[in-house]
């Protein structure tokens, strides 16, 4: 079988409303694509048995003149750290409770209320903490651009499923870059909104002060439509077609350009992106963000203290079911104390103010999402590796941030990160849409 990529929201929406396609038929197209490519990508873990009934509902409603909006009849997938009624939330771990969730996470419920069709649960790293690890209940997802390379994580299946054209929309979560880094590695759009802007009820907690619910989509416009459904307030003033003429964009170049882990191709791509935005009419100014190493240290302390607190009982009682990487990473947190956590959290207001100050006079900031393309699985043969990226600081400060495709390095996608003021998802989506519109990085077909 050779199933084509699933249609965009614009194409599917037009076809549904013109009567040229049904939601049931659209769902079947998604399943055909999954059957064709998921064996190579391993993003899809469990199909949602409610999908047929909800697609039928979407068709019946359209026939009766009821249109729930741009997501009406559109399938989406959900990271397996997010509750979906009737399916277990496995968190990528054998040690998880296997009882089916009794209700949908709030985000899933809002998407269904907007007419979207829950298609499947998708891959994640164990507990969202660390990966990729072989030998768990499910193998890790593979990068659709080169299956010898990782997807990044922990929203690995969400990014891989969208990149493999199995679906256009995915729910993810981001505690240190778990939406943005797999989006960069897989060449899709990933949005980590302002902390708290998208409800995380029904999401498995990893680090309560850093966790963010968010979305992954094939394009900026589709991400914006999804965000509008799950957090309408964030997109109330969104005007994605306004472009960037007259906008001032701060380029945090020094924040990553001196890092020895930086791939030179990523620096070239980031400079090219700044040039593209300038040609589109934006003014680019270099800005200085707070010390990256300190921001990473603050985030690392918070994640590991809170992670060990959260997981100690499971490690004690079900440690034999845990993978090695998660065990080792969580146990390493035993070196930290409550005083370390308090000291880290005491720095957050100043760091957040430092980011906001760097943004003064700017409509958004740009910087690299990751400092290199997706590494090969072989890099992880001997255990976890800290992959270089620039995502965790905005979990610490809560600023909205998103990653968009910014080209390729060594045949693999790389991402450009946009950061906005607290509450200004609409602003960074507008600028990201303008960038996406003046480049063609997201239009390169995936070699599946």
């Amino acid at each position: 079988m050779n199933a084509p990529p699933v249609p965009s929201l614009r194409e599917a929406g037009a076809a549904l409303r013109a009567g040229r396609m049904t939601a049931a038929g659209l769902l079947a197209m998604h399943r055909d694509r999954i059957a064709d490519v998921n064996g190579r990508v391993r993003a899809i873990w469990a199909l949602d048995p409610r999908a047929d009934a909800l697609a039928a509902r979407a068709d019946a409603e359209l026939a009766a003149g009821k249109d729930r909006g741009p997501l009406h009849g559109i399938p989406f997938v959900i990271k397996d750290m997010v509750d979906v009624e009737g399916l277990p939330t496995n968190n990528g771990s054998r040690a998880s409770d296997t009882a089916p969730a009794i209700r949908d996470a709030e985000v899933v419920a809002r998407l269904i209320a907007a007419g979207a069709v829950p298609l499947a649960k998708v891959a994640t790293y164990e507990w969202g903490f660390v990966g990729p690890e072989q030998g768990l209940a499910e193998p890790p997802a593979a990068n659709p651009w080169n299956s010898a390379h990782i997807t990044g994580g922990s929203s690995s299946g969400s990014a891989a499923a969208v990149a493999a054209d199995m679906v256009r929309l995915a729910v993810g979560s981001d505690t240190g870059g778990s939406i943005r880094s797999p989006s960069a590695y897989c060449g899709v759009v990933g949005v980590k909104p302002t902390r708290g802007a998208v409800p995380d009820a029904g999401f498995f907690a990893l680090s309560p002060d850093l966790d963010h619910a968010g979305v992954i989509a094939a394009t900026v416009a589709e991400a914006a439509l999804m965000l509008a459904a799950v957090a309408p307030d964030t997109m109330a003033s969104a005007r994605l077609t306004d472009g960037v003429r007259g906008a001032e964009i701060g380029y945090a170049r020094d924040w990553f350009a001196q890092d020895p882990a930086l791939d030179a191709a990523v620096l070239r791509a980031m400079d090219d992106a700044a040039g593209a935005l300038s040609l589109a009419g934006a003014q680019i100014v270099e800005v200085q963000l707070p010390d990256y190493a300190l921001m990473e240290a603050v985030g690392a302390v918070m994640i590991h203290v809170q992670g060990l607190r959260l997981h100690a009982a499971s490690l004690r009682d079900k440690g034999h079911l845990w993978g090695r990487m998660a065990t080792q990473t969580v146990m390493g947190g035993a070196v930290l104390t409550d005083a370390d956590l308090q000291a880290a959290m005491a720095l957050v207001p100043d760091l957040s103010e430092g980011v906001t100050r760097a943004m003064e006079g700017c409509d958004a900031l740009i910087t690299a999402t990751t400092l290199a393309p997706a590494p090969p699985f072989a890099l992880f043969d001997n255990g976890a590796v800290w992959t270089p990226m620039r995502t965790l600081p905005f979990n610490v400060t809560g600023h909205p941030a998103l990653s968009v495709p910014a080209g390729f390095a060594h045949g693999l996608p790389i991402g450009l990160q946009f950061i906005g003021r607290h509450g200004d998802e609409a602003g960074i989506l507008r600028i990201a849409a303008a960038y996406e519109g003046c480049t063609d990085h997201g239009a390169v077909p995936v070699p599946l």
């Binding site: 690392a300 100690a312 000291a343 720095l347």
Partner: protein, 50 residues
């Protein structure tokens, strides 16, 4: 400023035992590497907070 020193595997074993956790020998090297990374992070945090 108080920063916990990570001395060796025995130290980490004891810290985990205090939480009722047992460190398996095959996990020790990687867990110790993580602990040392985190101890350095904590040192940096306390230093910035002074």
């Amino acid at each position: 400023m108080t920063v916990t020193p990570v001395e060796d595997e025995a130290w980490l074993r004891a810290a985990l035992a205090a939480r009722g956790l047992t460190l398996r020998s095959e996990d020790a090297a990687a867990a110790l590497a993580t602990a040392r990374f985190l101890a350095e992070a904590a040192r940096r945090v306390h230093e910035a907070g002074r």
